[in-house]
Symmetry: C2
Subunit: 384 residues, 2 copies
């Protein structure tokens, strides 16, 4: 159902199986939407419902096997997956667990090791009681960590994935360019959020899972609060940040604007954010580490504590709004070409206020490419 050819998925499975062999794993068990979709192409908004668990098993050799509720069979049959085992869910007594256990017993040898993503940024999307029941049903197999195989594979994007993220960024570029249509003094911020989502849809977003933002005098206090009905006022710095979906892939970047003339402090903060982002971009290439990128930006942003709150200056991006890695000083792992990242420095302003800027890039062997169209140093001023 994703627009990718079966070869894209076969390559992913091949790479997983090579890594599984090295790690001594006989199968991977995947339960979350992005992990499930990464190997299957199964794209639906139905994951919004928590009722039903969905399972994909990647064996040591051969194609993945889907163990899913019957309601998903018709859609699953449109993907490249051919071995589809389904049950009528919800089932109060046995909600897919015995079918999953039998499938894993089919696909792995006695004594075999089954890997699940269980490190940072992962979770198990099934009832914990179901996991314990699965363990009990598979006492002669070991359910353990996947050696971060799935996270590592997903971090490095293929060219079709990069094209998909670029297309999502293009949608947001066009929506941000139309912000002057919806920003006016006196307009309530929650209405601005609604109007901005409509702009994203009209420019080609399939849906808009994430919008954050803020508007306050001379900077804002945090970047995760929902919008209130407070009207925009002259002197407000408005920030809008969107993670929209196009063909199953996210963009994630923001824009800052000033309602009326920006203060000198705001102008300088914005220019410094753009300069810091450019410094991150200049340092970005295959082999750079998250720590390198952090320091390249922090040397300019020197944010006096804003990063202390945000915790990082960017992150991976793809099927999810945020993916591995985090751009933090503690991660000195070299990143390969094909890693897609957000560069997201923040700066502190007087009164505990902050400003945050964000762009999206992809690492190449000899440098980086912008996926979003980078903003200039002058903060746009609306309704002068």
């Amino acid at each position: 159902m994703s627009g990718f050819a079966p070869d894209e998925f076969r390559t992913r499975v091949d790479r997983a199986q090579t890594a599984m062999a090295a790690a001594g794993l006989d199968a991977l068990l995947l339960t979350t939407e992005p992990d499930f979709r990464y190997f299957s192409g199964f794209l639906t908004r139905f994951w919004e419902s928590p009722t039903r668990p969905w399972f994909l098993v990647v064996p040591a050799s051969g194609d993945p096997v889907a163990v899913i509720p019957a309601i998903g069979r018709a859609l699953m049959e449109t993907t490249w997956i051919t071995d589809i085992r389904s049950w009528r869910a919800p089932d109060l007594v046995d909600d897919g667990i015995s079918l999953l256990a039998a499938t894993l017993a089919d696909l792995t040898p006695p004594g075999g090791a089954i890997g699940l993503p269980m490190g940072m940024e992962s979770h198990l999307r099934m009832p914990l009681s179901g996991f314990f029941a699965l363990q009990a049903a598979l006492q002669d197999r070991h359910l353990g960590p996947d050696a971060d195989i799935v996270r590592g594979l997903r971090m490095v994007k293929s060219e079709p994935e990069i094209a998909a993220i670029r297309a999502a960024c293009g949608v947001a570029d066009r929506a941000f360019a139309r912000l002057p249509e919806i920003l006016a003094q006196g307009q309530p911020l929650d209405q601005v959020f609604r109007d901005f989502q409509a702009l994203c849809l009209s420019e080609g977003a399939d849906w808009v899972p994430y919008v954050a933002g803020a508007a306050a005098q001379g900077g804002y206090l945090d970047v995760i609060s929902p919008a209130t009905g407070t009207p925009l006022a002259r002197g407000d710095v408005v920030m809008l940040d969107t993670g929209l979906i196009r063909a199953g892939y996210f963009c994630d970047f923001d824009r800052n604007l000033s309602m009326g003339p920006a203060s000198t402090a705001v102008k300088e903060a914005h220019a410094r954010l753009i300069e810091a982002t450019a410094a991150g971009f200049a340092a970005a290439r295959a082999g750079v580490s998250p720590a390198d990128l952090f320091h390249a930006m922090a040397r300019i942003a020197s944010d006096g504590g804003a990063a202390e709150e945000a915790g990082r200056f960017g992150h991976g991006l793809g099927q999810q709004l945020t993916e591995w890695p985090s751009i933090i000083p503690a991660d000195t792992t070299p990143l390969p070409a094909g890693t897609v990242l957000t560069l997201e420095p923040s700066v502190a302003l007087p009164g505990g206020r902050i400003m945050v800027h964000e762009e999206n890039i992809v690492l190449r062997e000899d440098g980086a490419e912008w996926l979003s169209t980078p903003a200039g140093p002058a903060i746009p001023e609306i309704g002068l």
Copy 2:
């Protein structure tokens, strides 16, 4: 941050603590967005990012304690929660686990029992490796099931919650009433999905986490596929189903329309769906069971297998698109007044096709109330 007064949250906590005492639990540990928000009022779209875990502890007495990433502190300080413990996340070495373990050790006695939601429809939103580390750090406490306390509390809505769901339904009512503005023969279905989401936003949705639908000749094949670019054609039955959010609460219902004149089979199927929904509504009152509601609808829908695929004829609704219970024959538990439900019968048509109808209701002592404005038996025909 939710619009509710602190008393709403205190009442929820009181009820939880009464049930915890009966179940012998010294604390609840909550990790998912709806469970966390249910007791705290913490409303943000930031949960879209999988990077950071968030923890709320409900002790046996006293107010809940939030153990959260520092990026959430400013927003958390606007809620009624006053004991907020935070760490700088992401932390590659200890991502909140030792802080959480220390908090649980503060709030529970040695040998104490800590309950987590782990039954159907739940999951643990933290890395599984983190859960194992927490277990290891709390060897003199027991991490076990919450006796379905949280699920049971959340199933029965307060009047402010019912009002919030009714407001969300009103937004969708108004958006559905405007469908003729966006439906035309030749219009690609994926564009219809975008336009419909924009309608929902313009009518007051804060965001639109879920849209499903389909368009095909004489009925559709499944209800979870994403939209394709196929243009609407004369004779298509178009179904649009939305779960939109208003002030943190969902509606979840759909509408069917015919492009041009509907066939007799489609007209009859639609009328039968409306009749089945009405039969469900007539049976709905405090004390009815999901099984009762299923059979009331199935007697009329007699769907010849459509329910086999969907698995149920409706479900709970509230902070999530779908909540406990499922309207299935196997669940004979009496439902209390205040339970909010979708009634969602399906019928089979020739060629493996189905049609699905859905409305939202709340159970009262002596009957039920519509939360959505129920559709009439005649399927609307567009562009005759």
